[in-house]
């Protein structure tokens, strides 16, 4: 218990140290604030504009949560299909890779033409960002399931789907969570990018406006918020992992 409490503080200490270094180097090298404001200035500006920021934040959070949910479910579903339907894996895997290489600047106009300026094209973009790590990790997890476990299940008469749900899926949960962590990290940036294709509010909107009026401090406020949110989502996944993969051999590794 005690050691856990201490651990929780470590990253905060490191981040504080980082911020202090930042503030100091701004002082020492006299970096102008329109180029790179110091953390204190950023913090102050953040406090000042809290009120105007809140609606932006909440709209981005909503977008991110829905996008991340859809994206990871989709990622899992794709991995599931590619894994279970024989031959499909090899055939469709390349398409997945391709999907990660359509630049947003090309996709955006098409999405807008097809789906308008509503929330749908934005969710498509976030999902596109989030599904891929989940799919790759899940597929690799499925493939690494120890063959003796699968063999036992087969001999015991398990159907393909039973093998999947009772062995392959539980075994690859850690791997899937690894993918989810990557996705969660990207999700907020995905949401911000998606907001660039036309949103009324959101951190992305706030940031571009700040940037176009040279309010570098506000740009950094947005970045801090983005960072904070993605950490939040990341640790949310970590917490869910702790509760889901609780059988993990901990006791033995104590030394």
């Amino acid at each position: 218990m005690k050691s856990k409490n201490i651990k929780g503080w470590q990253p905060i200490v490191v981040i504080l140290l980082f911020l202090i270094c930042w503030q100091l180097s701004i002082k020492i090298w006299r970096i102008e604030s329109w180029l790179l404001p110091g953390p204190i200035a950023i913090f102050k500006e953040g406090m000042r504009s809290t009120d105007s920021l809140l609606p932006h934040i909440s709209s981005t959070i909503q977008l991110t949560i829905i996008g991340l949910l859809i994206g990871s479910l989709l990622g899992f579903l794709i991995a599931f299909l590619l894994h279970l339907i024989p031959g499909v894996r090899e055939a469709f895997y390349p398409l997945l890779i391709l999907s990660q290489n359509v630049p947003i600047i090309v996709l955006a106009p098409l999405l807008i033409i097809w789906f308008g300026f509503g929330v749908l094209p934005k969710l498509i973009i976030i999902s596109l960002v989030c599904f891929f790590p989940v799919t790759v990790s899940a597929l690799d997890g499925f493939r690494q399931t120890p063959s003796e476990l699968i063999n036992y299940m087969k001999m015991a008469g398990a159907s393909k789907s039973q093998v999947f749900w009772k062995v392959e899926l539980p075994f690859s949960l850690p791997s899937i969570f690894s993918g989810l962590k990557i996705s969660a990290t990207y999700s907020v940036m995905g949401a911000v990018i998606s907001e660039w294709l036309g949103a009324k509010s959101g951190i992305g909107v706030y940031m571009t406006l700040a940037s176009s009026s040279f309010r570098t401090d506000r740009v950094f406020v947005s970045i801090f918020i983005i960072m904070f949110l993605s950490m939040l989502f990341f640790f949310l996944i970590v917490v869910i992992e702790r509760f889901t993969v609780k059988w993990k051999v901990k006791g033995v590794k104590r030394k």
């Binding site: 329109w34 180029l35 807008i112 300026f117 909107v205 176009s212 009026s213």
Partner: protein, 311 residues
């Protein structure tokens, strides 16, 4: 013999970088001409033209990482208010050639027709202020206009769908529409408000260059001026120079745009690049009136004609 002469010269050439605002286009022709025709070399400069993509030039110029850049009066106004030390040294195009464009079939002929329509922009409060001032000229209410943020989507895409009109540059997007045979209705800002006849784009540098290396600035502007004057007189050849340097640009678009712009660079001014205090003041006042200027703007410090070649 010719070769040795040039190498000898290059030794003494001063290296400077100029950062474009976006991908190369006909706004930049004069710079490419000056480089290609050796005008920069004549002035003892070895110019590196860089296009920064998304980044934009302002911060690079202001920080001194780039010596010169292509910017806009709007940016420089906002930037200077935030103490960014960037200064305009020449107006590339004398009058504002931007405006609100819409396909003819939407029937938007003047600002009063905006009522009940949807405008696609990028969500800046400045846009709303401008629309408001245009519409108020004709006693229309800006609140009856639906403003939508269309982000990065380009004009042609946007008007295909929910959007009725958007803000474009005639010299590029407008020309592209002509090439496609799409009839547009264009409402120029300058036709409705003198205050909105600002310089876009301009050449810019930072305050340090001006105070420490005025000679280089002078040389640079002189060569650029010569380049733009060449483009004014020989649009065809200028276009081919731009294409030669950027072979991946669309040839037809460049040629047509160049032809259109040739008369706009200098327009009614008595020399290329000339900037007027009133223009700088007007736009800042407009912003201030609409409470869009977060600080003090001193128009005199934002630009200078000092480096333009004598008339």
């Amino acid at each position: 013999q010719n070769k040795t002469a040039t190498t000898k010269k290059t030794k003494k050439l001063k290296k400077v970088t100029v950062v474009l605002d976006w991908t190369p286009n006909t706004n930049h022709t004069g710079l490419f001409v000056a480089k290609e025709k050796g005008y920069f070399k004549e002035q003892g400069l070895d110019v590196d033209i860089i296009s920064p993509g998304e980044t934009g030039a302002d911060q690079l110029v202001a920080s001194g990482k780039a010596d010169f850049g292509v910017s806009y009066q709007e940016s420089i106004t906002q930037a200077r208010v935030q103490n960014v030390p960037i200064v305009s040294i020449a107006a590339i195009i004398q009058h504002n050639t931007s405006g609100f464009a819409s396909p003819v079939k939407k029937g938007i002929k003047s600002p009063k027709d905006f009522v009940g329509k949807t405008y696609g922009g990028w969500g800046s409060p400045v846009e709303k202020a401008i629309l408001k001032s245009l519409m108020s000229e004709e006693n229309a209410n800006v609140n009856k206009l639906n403003i939508v943020n269309m982000g990065d989507a380009d004009f042609f895409t946007a008007v295909k769908r929910d959007i009725d009109f958007a803000w474009i540059y005639q010299g590029w997007t407008g020309i592209q529409a002509e090439l496609r045979g799409e009839k547009l209705n264009m409402i120029y800002l300058t036709d409705y408000s003198k205050k909105l006849d600002y310089y876009t784009p301009v050449l810019a540098t930072n305050e340090k260059m001006i105070s420490k290396n005025p000679k280089i600035v002078k040389a640079f502007v002189a060569a650029a001026s010569k380049g733009y004057n060449f483009a004014i007189e020989n649009p065809k050849e200028a276009a081919s120079i731009l294409i030669k340097d950027n072979p991946d640009l669309d040839k037809k678009l460049v040629e047509k745009s160049q032809e259109w712009l040739a008369s706009k660079y200098k327009d009614d001014a008595d020399r290329w690049g000339e900037q007027k205090l009133s223009v700088w003041k007007n736009y800042a006042d407009f912003l201030a009136e609409n409470k869009l200027l977060e600080g003090n703007f001193k128009p005199k410090e934002a630009f200078t004609n000092d480096f333009l070649p004598a008339k």
